[in-house]
């Protein structure tokens, strides 16, 4: 993207949840093999060790924390979106 977006796109809401086991299997299938899973009060934190990336999975939210690596971020974003409904 060379120019800022001309207009802000209409809001897309997401619904549903990301199931841990199925998501882990999807990550594995896409080459993210070193994943450390930690249980938290509200869900799980996945540490993608080779990529130094964290994915916080909760019933009503997912938070991806990574370095400024757009291909990695958009890949993980699309893998998460597979489990959610867009509205």
């Amino acid at each position: 993207l060379e120019e800022p977006p001309a207009v802000l796109a209409p809001k897309t809401l997401l619904s549903g949840a990301v199931p841990l086991e199925a998501f882990l299997a999807t990550l594995q299938k896409h080459g993210f093999t070193e994943v450390k899973v930690e249980e938290t009060a509200d869900g799980h934190i996945l540490h993608l060790q080779a990529e130094d990336t964290l994915i916080q999975l909760e019933e009503d939210g997912t938070h991806i924390v990574c370095d400024n690596n757009e291909p990695l971020r958009t890949t993980l974003r699309d893998l998460v979106l597979r489990f959610l409904q867009k509205l």
């Binding site: 977006p5 997401l14 619904s15 990301v18 938070h63 991806i64 974003r77």
Partner: protein
Amino acid sequence: LIMKDNSLKLVSSEQALKDLGLNEHQLRFTCRVQLQDQSPEQETLSRVYTHLKSVLKGFSVQLLPDGTVMVESILIKVSSSPEDPDSKTLLLSWSYQDEDLGSFLSSLLKKGLPAALC
């Protein structure tokens, strides 16, 4: 637009989700951007603010008192580590609803701050 009890009504998408008995799922991203910059954190932050203000005409760009730059609903913070005062880490945080702008800002800031402002 939802149909309920044989009538159509126009409601916000948040309300429509509730009416349909669905839960909203928030998807957020936080990206770390490394900057080589020797100035103190506050100064880096105000340079980020000046830079974004000049590039993003027509967008809301604010410097908040708590040391955050906010572009629409995207938050930008600066942090530095005591071991390496010459480098700063920018933390950009946005939700899926601001995906286009968030992605644009992360690639813009990756290029660094303009030299003229140094």
